[in-house]
């Protein structure tokens, strides 16, 4: 009965995805359609697609599991997700991005920056960076999705991986941005409904909102017993200021991911898909609520899972899940929720993974095809769509190979998911965010300043990843090989690379702008037409 039910809803889900992918394919006629869905996407679809792309399995499973360890303090990330990732992103970045993208006839994020600063080199370098760095993030999503599919359907990981990537690849390559956004909206709806059920259930099973929180507060000694030395003070309190746990929570989880979202190419491009400015304003409404129901619920459930497991199994969540953070949420669902919800949740996770992956494929394809090959190498083909499609196939193969290979190198596949996501977010923010703000708000910013900020942001990020931030520098091992230590600056070993790279990149942008000539009026006037 259970397997039959699961089988039926999986088939139903895949049929709807296929139908929506086909709808996208039928409506796609040219490169504008393929890259920007013809700039006529409904605000509701745009908002949910943005949210569903933003939220992956990594946010629900990975960061939800992290909440079971760090506690409710992780909710600061939800505050940033909503306030920075939706409100500031749409209102202060989205409206201008849409207008400027339109003015400059830009179809991708690197193209927008390249045309705004009148630098083809910038467009190709940006495209290349996205193409090279994003497969890591995509591989993280593939690993998460395929693992979950393999465990639930009891099929080999390799088979799950091929099926999972195959389905997404078909509708992205065929349906382009329309296919991506239609399926995203459907997937987002499933995610939304599922999270509402989960929220109501967790509070109901732990005695109501305040009662549940109080029970969690009373469990504090259990947390202090294990992580007290690292700064833990209980699941409903922030860790001790500047302790290793505090630094990890605040710099990597809250700030790293919370701010990093502003310069995510696969999200920025969505601002250019809507018809007019007020549709972006309407999208803020849906987007804010959607994100609250995603990460907000995942983090509350993750933290409260401790109460559930303590009451039922006699141990805290992490111990109940064999010390595997990424197993906490799935285990909770399996033990605390009715069997039909487990099936629904599998679809939810598939939806979350697919909606993020589809946009990654689309962005990598357009970055390599349109920004690097077409613009950088000047290889022209008859239409832009073909080259993006070909590039997308290359990108998909690359990400799939990584997803095959990475778990072989690291026994703990779980760490790769969170690390891959965090590295990509940090790199994008450090390399792109200062120049993106400059592009939208500072007419005076020069192309040289944009490029300098790009190289410094990228350089400092990579340096920090390899030589300072111990979470990466230790497994990479180059620092140890050259200097015999795992980190060059022990005092900063827990600080996220972004905390160092982003201010430097911003400072470089400002200083170089002051010492270089102002950009030509023609370019600036065109970019800022009716923006002011």
């Amino acid at each position: 009965m259970k397997m039959l039910f699961l089988g039926v809803i999986v088939v139903l889900y895949l049929s709807v995805i296929a139908l929506l992918g086909y709808k996208g394919f039928k409506k796609t006629k040219n490169a504008s359609d393929y890259l920007l869905a013809g700039r006529k996407i409904h605000p509701m679809i745009m908002a949910i697609s943005y949210g569903a792309t933003f939220i992956s399995t990594s946010a629900i499973i990975g960061f939800g599991g992290a909440a079971a360890v760090f506690g409710m303090g992780v909710l600061w990330l939800t505050v940033l997700n909503i306030f920075v990732g939706i409100f500031i992103a749409f209102v202060f970045f989205g409206l201008r991005t849409r207008k400027m993208g339109h003015n400059l006839d830009a179809h991708t994020f690197p193209e927008l920056l390249g045309r705004r600063f009148d630098s083809q080199f910038l467009q190709s370098a940006g495209g290349l960076l996205i193409f090279l760095a994003m497969p890591l993030y995509a591989a993280a999503i593939i690993i998460g999705g395929a693992h979950f599919m393999a465990t639930t359907l009891t099929i080999p990981y390799e088979v799950a991986l091929i099926v999972f990537v195959g389905i997404v690849a078909v509708y992205v390559i065929m349906g382009g941005m329309r296919g991506v956004m239609y399926t995203d909206a459907f997937q987002g709806t499933i995610m939304f409904v599922s999270m509402i059920i989960l929220l109501v259930s967790i509070y109901a099973s732990t005695g109501g909102i305040v009662a549940a929180h109080t029970k969690l507060t009373e469990l504090a000694p259990e947390a202090v017993k294990i992580w007290g030395g690292a700064g833990h003070q209980g699941w409903t309190a922030m860790p001790v200021f500047w302790s290793p746990l505090w630094q990890q929570l605040v710099t990597t989880i809250v700030l790293g991911v919370g701010i990093g979202v502003l310069a995510q190419p696969q999200l920025v491009v969505r601002f250019m898909t809507v018809k007019s400015g007020h549709e972006l304003n309407r999208a803020v409404l849906a987007g804010g609520v959607f994100i609250m129901m995603m990460t907000g619920v995942a983090f509350v459930v993750g933290a409260l899972a401790n109460v559930y497991f303590f009451e039922n199994v006699g141990s805290i969540a992490l111990i109940a899940a064999d010390k595997k953070t990424d197993t906490i949420i799935p285990l909770f669902i399996k033990s605390a929720m009715p069997w039909w919800f487990t099936s629904l949740f599998l679809i939810t996770l598939l939806a979350a993974a697919m909606s993020t992956l589809s946009s990654q494929f689309h962005t990598m394809g357009s970055a390599f095809g349109r920004d690097f090959i077409e613009n950088g190498l000047k290889i022209k083909v008859k239409d832009s769509m073909t080259i993006s499609k070909l590039a997308m196939i290359v990108a998909i193969l690359l990400a799939t190979m990584l997803a095959f290979g990475l778990p072989l190198f690291y026994s703990e596949g779980t760490a790769i998911i969170a690390t891959g996501t965090a590295i990509f977010f940090g790199l994008c923010a450090s390399a792109f965010l200062p120049m993106f703000i400059g592009a939208l708000y500072f007419k005076r910013m020069s192309a040289t300043a944009a490029l300098a900020s790009f190289w410094f942001g990228l350089g400092v990020s990579l340096f920090s990843l390899v030589f300072i931030h111990i979470k990466e520098s230790k497994p990479i091992g180059l620092c140890n090989l050259l200097f015999g230590v795992d980190t060059l600056i022990p005092a900063m070993q827990y600080l996220d690379p972004l905390i160092l790279a982003l201010p430097i990149s911003a400072l470089v942008a400002i200083v170089v702008t002051l010492f270089t000539e102002k950009p030509s009026d023609t370019v600036v006037d065109r970019a800022f037409k009716s923006i002011g």
Binding site: N30, A31, M72, T78, T217, T236, A237, H278, M292, S384
Partner: protein, 61 residues
Amino acid sequence: MLGFQDWGVTLAYVGTIVSAIICVVYGIINWNKPREDETTEITEELEWENHDPELREGDER
């Protein structure tokens, strides 16, 4: 408050809900803004479609 141990977490919990409410209120207030856009939008849209290098001959508009 709300059963939490310290204000840092209470603020995060309340902040999550308040941020979402801000988004909803903003969305409702600005449902039809920027309004003055409309005529320029239509003109721009026409201009865009006329000059869009990506559009090929004979495409559906």
